[in-house]
Symmetry: C2
Amino acid sequence: MAGQEFDPALFQENDRTAPAADSRKIAAVGPLDCEAGGHIEDVEVAYETWGQLNSDASNAIVICHALSGDSHAIGWWDRIVGPGKAIDTDQYFVIGTNALGGCQGTSGPGTLDASGQRLGSRFPLVTMGDMVEVQKRLVSQLGIDRLHAVAGGSMGGMQALEWTKRGSVAKCWMTASCRAHSAMQIGINEAGRQAILREPQWCGGDFAVGEGPADGLSVARMIGHISYLSEASFGNKFGRGLQDKDAFDYNLGIEFQVESYLSYQGDKFTKRFDAGSYMVLTRAIDYYDCADLAGSDSEYLFTSFTSDWLYPTHQSVELEQMAVDAGRRVLRAEIDLPFGHDSFLLDGDLQAGIASDFLGA
Amino acid sequence: MAGQEFDPALFQENDRTAPAADSRKIAAVGPLDCEAGGHIEDVEVAYETWGQLNSDASNAIVICHALSGDSHAIGWWDRIVGPGKAIDTDQYFVIGTNALGGCQGTSGPGTLDASGQRLGSRFPLVTMGDMVEVQKRLVSQLGIDRLHAVAGGSMGGMQALEWTKRGSVAKCWMTASCRAHSAMQIGINEAGRQAILREPQWCGGDFAVGEGPADGLSVARMIGHISYLSEASFGNKFGRGLQDKDAFDYNLGIEFQVESYLSYQGDKFTKRFDAGSYMVLTRAIDYYDCADLAGSDSEYLFTSFTSDWLYPTHQSVELEQMAVDAGRRVLRAEIDLPFGHDSFLLDGDLQAGIASDFLGA
């Protein structure tokens, strides 16, 4: 792809999704024996849909979110999902779900028991396969036998990949993702987990509603944000700008704009995210290791971004080779944009054009 | 520089230095009015020397350490400093000091007052200029008017650069460093600082000896280690290897080797490092912003490493341009090694050859 000049107007926050409780529905999909050995009674999955399912139920697309996302794909992926967009809600029946283990309506550690207590550590560790199993049950309830497509970025891409191993899927689009986390990716997640686990308020995962390891979760989110951006993103957005001052105060408070940004993002995150979900989801990401695509009958599109140092392009090359080895039709594109890992959320142009062609072909 | 195959035998820890209390000396260099407004009575600086000062005191080299280093340069930079090495202790009189604000013998937040309490928050924030001022006083006490050279990597490179603005220095070698931290570099430091500041045991910096924010400091060190290595380093060292097991336990304990490594490094660090020093030194690093080299009469060598994403080569290009703009003689080399930022500690071959020529010319 051709390079682009940095456009500050294009650069926005990762999590500009607004909760859309009014459009969110909850489906009960029964008990689940988890791959890691746990058991969850009465799994519920939060989902939203846009567009109309056609008469032969052949136009459904499932969108899988990344670590901090939710079912509201038309919010967090607004440059990709909507009328006339790459995932065209005028053409497709689009389903967004909150992942198993998450905290936006689907069963997770923050789910309350009959006495109003968080499940906490009673909620087991889950896998990408478990997340896909829950989505499959929902899709089946919606009367869909085969998906036109499944799409997702980062953790969502892993779910999309796993869908093609376990479900019936014509097309799979993974963006800014990989088949298995590398040591460095695991390490970044682990630093965040340790920030949470080492805080007394973690309480083994069994903190009360409204309490919990806010400082640890905030630091984990700061670490995450650093990994989602690129040096160029940080530089263009903040440089060495000071926060509401003309000269250093020379103390340990906020001096630089980037410090303010990270603390703001970290603290905001704690208002909407359950620390238990952070542990369950990052564990599922790190555990995931797709060895091959044997048995898949899907077509694949893999997109990656030049400035994404968290999910570098060689991981998409590896995915491409895996699809080739399985005899599947595959497209791959590396897109030259400077926004780091967040490019997959911010780019409504380059990856959208490729994905639109892929989904419509 | 030519590329090299990854050699696991070359890959060792960042901090293999052993404290060398027996060879460490302490010099009293008087009171200091700090640039940021604070004042320190009775500054002491820990230092070590190797080799012999020649008759006209023209063969002295000062080595400045990085964030977690100390005066024992022959330990942490053993591939560069020693008999017959690039900084040849048979030829030069080599001086290693612990930086002002550090915690290995030089005055810092961990220095004890007359009642045995840490100075803590009574120790002021300092700048690279303050660190250099202390080193200058020491060098003067040692009877040296002009340094043959000053050398350092990372934070040590910043001190070396500042020496050429404030002191009398013939040659300056900066490796894996920059003229000013970028927003991303500040952000990485800030995530670590927040891990410390948000821990109750931080106590505003005034924790007791043997106490303190060990968990926050450990997390900060984990973040640091992630930034010091490259994806290739992590991959070659750990891959997805499990820690003392053949299959996942599926809990929140250590599963992967890389998790064990990070927690080990983090916890080990808390045994030898004062959290107050972590704050003071990272602040000094982030504050530093060398605008130009006006007034310098030094020659410069800047080395950088292809895999160092923390201090990328373009920052050395910027340094080179600054030296050119000041009319100084300058050499710059980008070295192709896969070890990330730690390359400057691990490479005793490529940068050593260049530095040896530069220092001897």
